[in-house]
C-alpha cells in the first residue's frame, strides 16, 4: 500500500460519498421491501433493512471521509 493517500486518490474517494450515501439507503429499502413481499411480513423487514441501508450509507460516508479507520482501503 502507498504511504500517503495522493490527491487523486482522495478525489476519487470523496467523489463517491454523495451518491453512495443515497444508493446504500435505496438498496437497503429495496431489499427490505423485496423480502417483505417474499415472506409476507409486511412492514417489519422494510423498516429493519432501511435502517441497515442508512447505517451502511453512513458507514461508507465516515470511512471515505476518514473518521473511522477503514478495515480495508
Amino acid at each position: 500500500m502507498p504511504d500517503e493517500p495522493s490527491f487523486l486518490r482522495q478525489l476519487a474517494r470523496l467523489s463517491t460519498i454523495g451518491i453512495s450515501l443515497v444508493a446504500a439507503t435505496a438498496i437497503g429499502l429495496a431489499m427490505g421491501y423485496g423480502l417483505d413481499w417474499l415472506l409476507g411480513t409486511k412492514p417489519w423487514l422494510t423498516m429493519v433493512f432501511a435502517l441497515f441501508g442508512i447505517a451502511a450509507g453512513f458507514l461508507n460516508l465516515f470511512r471515505d471521509v476518514g473518521l473511522i479507520g477503514p478495515p480495508r482501503r
Partner: protein, 278 residues
Amino acid sequence: MATETNKKASGRKSAWLVLVGLVLANLLVGVFLAPRQVGLHHTPFIQLPNFLAPVGVPGEWLPPHVTFTWVVMGILVVFGWAVGRGLRAVPGPLQNFAEVVVEGFYGLLDQMIGRQGRQFLPLVGTAGLFILTSNLLANIPGLQPPTANWNTTVALAVTVFISYNYFGIRKHGLANYLKHFCGPIWWLAPLMFPIEFIGHLARPVSLSIRLFGNIFGEESVVTILLGLSWLVMPYLIWLGVMLPLSLFTAAVQTFVFIMLTMVYIAGAVEEGHAEEHH
C-alpha cells in the same frame, strides 16, 4: 526595422483572419449540420439496421449505444492491432504512445494496489480505455458516447463488482473473505454483515450512476446548445465553455472510474486481514 514590424503586424492580422475564418466555418457547420446530427434525441450519424430482430431485440434500428459501443470497440481493436503488429525495439510514434499509456496504467496500479497490482492491468486498462474513448466521442458532432446510456455503465460497473469480489475470494478463500465482512467484533457480526453487504452493493450503483449522469448531463446540455446554434450565442458558448469542459469531464470521469476500481480491488486483495481481528 519598419518592414519587420510590418511583417509582424501582417502576420498578426493573418492569424486573426485565420481564427475568424475558423470560427465562421465552425459556425456554418454548427448551424447547418449540428442540429440534425448532434444529440441524444436525434438520429445519430451511424445507424445499423436491427439484424438481431430474430433473437427478440425490438425496434427497427439497433439502439445507438450498442452501435457506438461497437464503434469504440472497433477503434480500440484497430489501435491495438496496429500497435501490436509493428512492435520494435526502437519504438515508432504509435508504439511510443501505446507505451506511455500502458506505463501510465502500471504507475497507477503500482501506486494504488502495490506490488501485486500489475496482474489487474487487463481489467483496469480495458475499462479505462473504453470509457475514455467513448467519453471523447461525445465531442464529435453526430456521434453519441455509449457511456451516456445507463445500460453501458451498469455493464461496466457490474463487471467491476463481480471481478473485485472474485479477486478477493481467489486471494483469501471464500470463508476468510466473508469473515472480512463481519467487522472486528464477533458479537456485532450479525449487525455488521448486512450493513457491509449493502455497502458493497451500493458500489456498482454509485459507479454506474456517476459515470452515466455526468456524460448524459453534459450531452444533454450540448444537445440543447447546438439545437439553438442558429442563435449564434449558444454555439459560441458550446465552443468556448462546453467543449473544453466536456474534454475535462471525459478525462476526470475516466480517472475516477478506474481509480475507484483500483480502490475496490485493493480493498479486496489486501494482505494482512488477520491482524485486524485482534
